[in-house]
Symmetry: D2
């Protein structure tokens, strides 16, 4: 008698293969699901492996376009950076992957979903909060939190973990070591509409991309070629531990710099300030796994609203791990060369600045007066 | 009959020389004051020029150490960055310079102070708010806001401005072009106590510095050699204009990266979050000229409090415009390798994570329930 | 020869009558404009007075409905309170009044607008920022900041001010003294949709109102009858002075309490938290005169978005200056009696709370561990 | 064989008596602990009951003074209000009670602590986070989350809960119904130093109190007599449920109003704004049980710093559930009657306001210009 159907987020690797077999042993009908979000993977080999291990059904889903459009683009609009440094790669991928998994579970009549994330990490939370939010009645099997499972397989984890942690040179899959990267820069022009890139052109060779997926892939390629976006950080996990993370986000880093530039160029100063706070909030929510929450919906809506005029082109160079902004132009720019020029007075009367400063000083002078009085007394 | 004494912030350049002469013409006794905050300048030539133009007294003040200790260090503690990009170089220098100017004015019995900042910029505000805060009765003469002055000298400004703006290649004084910078990295170790650097050691050659001024100068030197900290941005001035700024902050950039790293390593996650908000506030206040304000005092105090345990060493490499964090260590680290390890369960029970996640999902599931109900009805 | 047309915000009182005459003397064609936003005023007498004093045209505009719908309702949605206490009455009225004034000025071809607000207050700013935002080329004549005017009329101001300031007993126009108010409460039910009241019913006598203007007027009447919403505060003006203010906001106070209640009942906790911050920002912007600014537009949009499900009925009693919430109901409520009940376990497993708490404690215990280590060493 | 010692937070009531007996049955040596934080209770009867039920030791601790000084006073300084309405009574008491419980557990060599808080509430969290923070190795027994316990005793809970929930008229222990309260107001003068009350004087009868405990008790008495501080709200629990709460905080409400007044009178506007944000954060932390956390320590320190000049006297009347501020005075006031007066120009030049407004309008006019351009194009 089957205990029911479970949709397992399957990677093709050792640990989720162990889980597949173990779930079968426990009496579940296992449906494996592997999402293609652009990683370098032999999907057909994974399919065969899942089938050979006893999966009842195997789903391999190409989510690349929806990943870029529905998840990465909002992060670009938000200038999403967690704790001032981490560009949220995996954190943004999880809700995308889990959303489809839940759709499959509903369609296949599966009551259960399962995953291979460990019990101390963030990914378990991102995965499960998405599942609960989109499929509240779902039951989640997290083997790395089940003693019978992890006591039995701990040895293997140790091994895998060992393999992973002792090989830092191989850690980076997308980016070259900046020391070994080319000595000749690429110059790119990225065009934005509503705060998202709609086109990238390489000024060196004229290559141009204009679909979401192509633009993002190309920026990953060029950024990677020049070693852009590597970091080695200690970060604060949601569960309250500090952990070390080594990340590479080549395309994301190029986009962050370009978006920051076109945004400041086209957005009112005070709107920007409020939006900056919302972007920090967004980053925390996404890092902590709350993509599908009322508050993240709300914040995304507000941020998207702020991007209506974030439009124009940014020119930048990429070289030796660095991105340099060279210039920008926009039909929606609030930059007024004449207004700011020292040569032209225009509509601006410098005398107004005297009043402005003196009024701003009213409070400071009063404060000083009070301090003087206080010290007189003491 | 003299109109009284005026202390003029004098640079030795054309524009403040014009102001010196003009103030004399207007009947003031002019005392010039030139602050040494580390810029490359022939101070003795400036003294002679001021004297030859009729200054009654000439003050040349070495503020380098107090600039680093009293102004740059608090900015390092705050991770001060304006609008996500600008590291506040000039903004931090102004209150330092004006503070001494006001001291001289009081000591010399001068009722007036004067400066050469233009009428559309931020520096006039930073300068004058400091003066009003520390010397509330002072009278300020800002010639670039006085029509008789600027109408007469506008031609010269145009010229100077022209000279300045048409020479971007020469704009950078401290940093090499990363393309021309060495192919061999410098590896530095920076030691922090209470959130400020107390020592830097170059691991390549063993050179070491341990006074505030030496540490900062050395980081400027190494950062500059490798082309670190150049930016070309559009920023929002306090007075509501957007303007283009080209800046170089080699030492500041190295310190920002190193401080962010040691801070995250040693500071509690939630303290960090609150402190991040205070740091953004601090940056806005300093940019806008409010260093000497009750709120900036308050924020500085709070930030300093947060730094009590920010202590330890950061290793980093500098190459081709980039700063890479290599590692960090601290006696006050909150990073607990055993706690975070996947090999060791320790005091942490992975089952707790299930409860944690399910409680976090209570709200999300309720929200989904409500949406389901609503849509059923409609 | 006329200097041109000026539209004067005219109150019918002594001071704006002086301004009318003075503007005529200066050579302007004066168009007076008097807004009816619900104040107790003899508008026809004011018209005659303006005409007799030489106004070329007289506009009396009924703005009551648009004042409530376009200005008060957004403030209700925001729970707008300045510095924790002031409900922003006048601050909300200014942009409403100035908006129409600018429309009249454009229509009449007037280059100038004028007003009777004093030179130390907030109203001059609220008035003028609205004018500049909606009619950037406008020229503003503010007589109380023009020495020839205020030196001549200062005596009269003194007099008026004296009259105003020495008569606190008469200060309150809308509210009874709570000591003299009825001993029998009124019980009201207010119905909200999208965060604004759409209907009020008096449960005592069945009286019911359902247009924006009628609802607001009725709440002013009932609130006023029971002495609700009087405050005597010191507040911080935008220009940096502290000033004493005595205000009455009977209807606004009832609405604030009712809206807070239905909002918390229907809005997700974390959305509420973000929205609370936006509401504080909104209050500061409105107080400071920035209703018509990009950031206030943005914040209003976000707040309105948050109100989509703020729907339902609130029952409350009004008595002796107090508003007591008696109950609330909503088709969009997130309150789930079964979930929260101690009798019913339902879908909620109390054991999950153990995990939730222990994970929340990870960080606190680590912190304690570190402090222990530190103190051991020292 | 004993399983070890457990310190039980004992109330003397039915539910913790059940727990006492059950813990004994489970094989623990039970030490009961009852904190006196000012509640109306027969402590000696509780002692006898605990002894008769088999407690090995009974501790009854008078925490009243430390509760007021260490817990309520910081909440007063913070203007602590959760979700705009709840004054945090119980939330502030929990860490006070649990702190002593942990001290007793350490002193008595008990490895375990226990409490009677239910599994859906906030109090379990407040209690346990305090214990984990101050005694990280402690083991917590929460019977209402243990199935063997709650399945057995559920009937009784239902009963108790029923009793509690069906008796709203008796809910209020400290406050009279405002309808039944006196018709004659009490007028109080409260004196503050560093943001906390140091003295209260009743102007009607001259009664005066000047220790922390006496001041707070007296304000509870007077507030209670006039029916001040009753609320009926829906609130958001930490665990993500909404629940209804009926609270009375007579003394706290009087203090909140008085403290807000003296604070605004003596604190710089911008410091106040930053501190307001910290106060909201503090309230959330305390509500959620994080009194003993690094971030709450940090926030408390910052808030205390902000209170250095919050000093002076506030006069207020209390009547029929309302608190009216009548006036305030302070040696540290930033209120400058001359500066704000319309009669006296003093050091303030009204012309400065023109410049101030025009500079503030620069951005608004640019925004309008851009919108005009955009609409022209489309």
């Amino acid at each position: 008698m089957s205990k029911g159907k479970v949709v397992l987020a399957y990677s093709g690797g050792l640990d989720t293969s162990c889980i597949l077999v173990w779930l079968k042993e426990q009496g579940y009908d296992v449906i494996t699901y592997l999402a293609n979000i652009g990683q370098d993977e032999d999907f057909e080999a994974a399919r065969k492996k899942a089938e050979s291990l006893g999966a009842k059904k195997v789903f391999i889903e190409d989510l690349r376009t929806e990943f870029v459009e529905d998840f990465i683009w909002p992060a670009v609009q938000a200038n999403a950076v967690y704790e001032d440094r981490y560009l949220l790669g995996t954190a943004v991928a999880r809700p995308c992957i889990a959303r489809r998994q839940v759709e499959i579970a509903r369609r296949e009549g599966a009551q259960y979903v399962s995953h291979g994330a460990t019990g101390k990490g963030n990914d378990q939370i991102r995965f499960e909060l998405t599942c609960y939010a989109l499929y509240p009645e779902v039951k989640i099997i997290a083997p790395w939190r089940i003693p019978e499972f992890y006591n039995r397989f701990r040895g293997r984890t140790d091994l895998m973990e060992y393999a992973r942690s002792r090989a830092p040179a191989d850690l980076y899959l997308m980016t070259k070591n900046p020391e070994d990267s080319p000595n000749v820069q690429d110059v790119l022009e990225i065009e934005f509409k509503k705060g998202v890139p709609v086109k990238v052109t390489n000024m060196n060779d004229g290559i141009s991309k204009n679909t979401a997926l192509d633009v993002f892939s190309y920026l990953n390629e060029i950024g990677g070629k020049h070693g852009v976006g590597r970091i080695d950080i200690v970060e604060n996990r949601f569960i309250g531990m500090k952990s070390r993370g080594i990340y590479e986000t080549p395309g994301g880093t190029v986009l962050l710099k370009a978006h920051l530039d076109i945004e400041t160029f086209t957005m009112d100063k005070e709107v920007r300030r409020i939006k900056q706070g919302l972007g920090i909030k967004f980053s925390e929510l996404v890092y902590n796994g709350f993509w599908y929450s009322p508050e993240c919906n709300f914040v995304r809506h507000c941020i998207a609203k702020s991007q209506e005029n974030v439009e124009g082109k940014v020119q930048l160079s990429v070289l030796k791990g660095q991105v340099y902004i060279l210039g920008r132009e926009s039909p929606k720019s609030l930059y007024n060369e004449e207004l700011v020029s020292m040569d032209v007075q225009g509509d601006y009367d410098p005398c107004d600045a005297s009043g402005f400063i003196r009024i701003n000083a009213v409070r400071l002078r009063e404060h000083h007066r009070l301090q003087g009085l206080s010290s007189t007394k003491q």
